[in-house]
Amino acid sequence: MPSDTVTTLADKTARATPLALARRVRALSDQAIAWLFITPTIVLLLAINIFPLLWTIYLSFTSYRANQPGRPIRWIGTRNYERLLGSEDIWGYMQVTASFVVWTMVIQVLIGLGLALLINRNFKGAGFWTTVILIPMMLSPAVVGTFWTYLYHPQIGIFSYIVNVFAAVGPLDMIGSVDLAMWSIIIVDTWMWTPYIMLLCLAGLRSIPPYLYEAAEIDRAGPLQQFWHITLPRVMPFLMLAVLFRGIENFKMFDMVVELTSGGPGSTTELASINLKREAFEKWRTGYSSAFAVILFVTVFGLANIYVKALNRVKQT
């Protein structure tokens, strides 16, 4: 009978419900439940973040080579570090990285903030232009690197052509020139990531209550004063956050530059991360490159910490 079936089904379900389990969960303290929820995350973090980090630190004190797995791992103390810090080359790569990071950040902050201020004026079509400006950000860095090699082509590239419209300098070999190669990667990074800075600045600008400007108008502050005393302090936390994210990203910049210049010509655009990849996966000096990775990690970590402190100070205001 149908009604019978229903009762039996309901009975079955009731019996099948792991009441014992439900009771056990209910018996747990809040703290135990909290642990239950976060343990998987912690285990995962340990497995894929903390353990590799510790393992890298360990390897940095050995002469291990990953392409010779059979060989016993030999402890060599701080020899890798001594070699690294003593070599001229590493300082060169660090300098290249530093100038790449600093220039890209300075230029992108200036342009990004400028664009944000323009877009924030809410002229007709502002939404459309925002979308247009955001497009580069949505592309893959490797793809961007590849197609810019064509744009930069001295003979057929549009970049050289446009520059020549303004100044007749002849075919311009951005990537191949020792002087210009660094600028070639700075320009591409700026083209690609300024929208990101702009977006965060825009969020900051939109968060400024209009009454502050009204009060400033009443107080007879000029446009410059309004920018300096209201706009900038209010946008600063957003701007600094954008620079933090982008700065760390650019510190480990790899894909786009490999596609564009592969670190050349010579080692003019050889960023630390590019050199690291060469040492680790072309020369297979795993111990040595681990030491390099640790140095880079400490540098970024230290800088980021100082920076976050500054950021917090700005945010308090």
């Binding site: 009204e214 108008e217 107080d219 007879r220 502050a221 000029g222 005393h229």
Partner: protein, 363 residues
């Protein structure tokens, strides 16, 4: 300080007319209070004078210059915002000093410091000078907001309910203080509020706003004693004026033709024992005491009558008790007459004795 003149100023927001054809002249060193309930257009009026809004019609003149199309900076007004708009990332000191650092204001650092400290002391926020604007209580923010206006010497001070979030004691102190400052500096002030007490105590002249329209202007006493309409009469006085249907109360003066409503201020209500008023042509309004509120200075008696509830100010030591039957009468010459549309009607002078008046009424 300067004279400010609004001539036929109107402002619409879509379908809403926030300010409708307002004309008012604020004389040099005059303290004008615009009184109106919420939504009456008080803030909008101030914003129009400040230049934060553009009027749809009319013109605004400050010190003889038409400023209708000029930006706020050119008008040199100081405005205390209704929502205290302090610069949140600055300290109280910096907030107070900010208006003194505007371009073109060549003030020395010590001079700025002197003024800021003076104002802070006056508003009793000197202990908070180092606080960030966000680390203040509502009342402190409001005082900083007032201070930011007072440090300046503008053409006119515009104040938008500046005392609304202060406690009663501080409010009373600041009312006195503001009035004193205004006298000392000879400041021109346009002040808006919904608080009739502020209007009565500080104003040289009151303007009563109703739905964007200025229904009456005049000295507090005039507006109080001779309100232009029921609306204006209700704005001033606490407890509010009593409104009774025409004919419900014996009046010493004849009701002018067209009278629909009688208005009697609580202090003009006479309460007598059940026997009082006997022998009169039109007997006093009988009633029964509902509640007696002892407020210290005054005692408010609520009387239920056939014509409606009547509030009366009574002698604190009087024998009125709840549930007691009383008779309600009006002090001679105190009743206000209103037409059906709310307009006040002028009473015919009560020079003739009551008996004669009754006769002329008949005639």
């Amino acid at each position: 300080m300067a004279e400010v003149d609004l001539a036929g100023v109107s402002k619409r927001f879509g379908d809403i007319t926030a300010v409708a054809d307002v004309s008012v002249r604020i004389g040099d060193a005059e303290f004008v209070v615009l009184l109106g309930p919420t939504g009456a257009g008080k803030t909008t009026t101030l914003r129009l004078v400040a230049g934060l809004e553009q009027p749809d019609a009319g013109s605004i003149t400050i010190a003889g210059t038409d400023v209708t199309r000029l930006p706020p900076a050119a008008r040199d007004v100081a405005l205390v915002f209704q929502q205290y708009s302090l610069y949140p990332h600055y300290t109280v000191y910096e907030n107070l000093a900010f208006p003194l650092k505007a371009p073109g204001r060549r003030l020395s650092k010590p001079e700025i410091d002197r003024r800021v400290r003076h104002i802070a002391e006056m508003l009793r926020i000197e202990a908070k000078l180092g606080n960030r604007a966000t680390q203040l209580s509502g009342g402190e923010m409001q005082r900083v907001s007032i201070g930011r206006a007072l440090v300046r010497e503008p053409t006119i001070y515009l104040m938008d309910e500046p005392l609304s979030s202060l406690d009663a004691k501080l409010r009373e102190d600041l009312r006195t203080e503001l009035k004193r400052i205004q006298r000392d500096l000879g400041a021109t002030i346009l002040y808006v509020t919904h608080d009739q007490l502020e209007a009565m105590t500080m104003a040289d002249r009151i303007g009563v706003l109703a739905a964007g329209r200025l229904v009456q202007t005049g000295p507090p006493r005039t507006v109080y004693e001779a309100p232009a309409s029921i609306y204006a009469a209700q704005r001033l006085g606490s407890p509010q004026i009593n409104l009774l249907p025409a004919g419900s109360l014996a009046t010493d003066r004849p009701e002018p033709p067209g009278t629909a409503t009688l208005g009697i201020r609580p202090e003009d209500v006479r309460l007598t024992g059940p026997m009082g008023g006997a022998g009169q042509e039109r007997p006093d309004l009988p009633g029964r005491v509902l509640t007696v509120e002892h407020l210290g200075v005054e005692t408010v008696v609520l009387v239920e009558t056939a014509a409606g509830p009547v509030r009366a100010l009574a002698d604190a030591h009087g024998p009125v008790a709840e549930d007691q039957p009383v008779r309600v009468a009006a002090r001679p010459g105190s009743v206000l007459f209103f037409a059906a549309d709310g307009r006040r009607l002028a009473a015919t002078p009560a020079s003739a004795p009551a008996a004669l008046e009754e006769m002329s009424d008949v005639a």
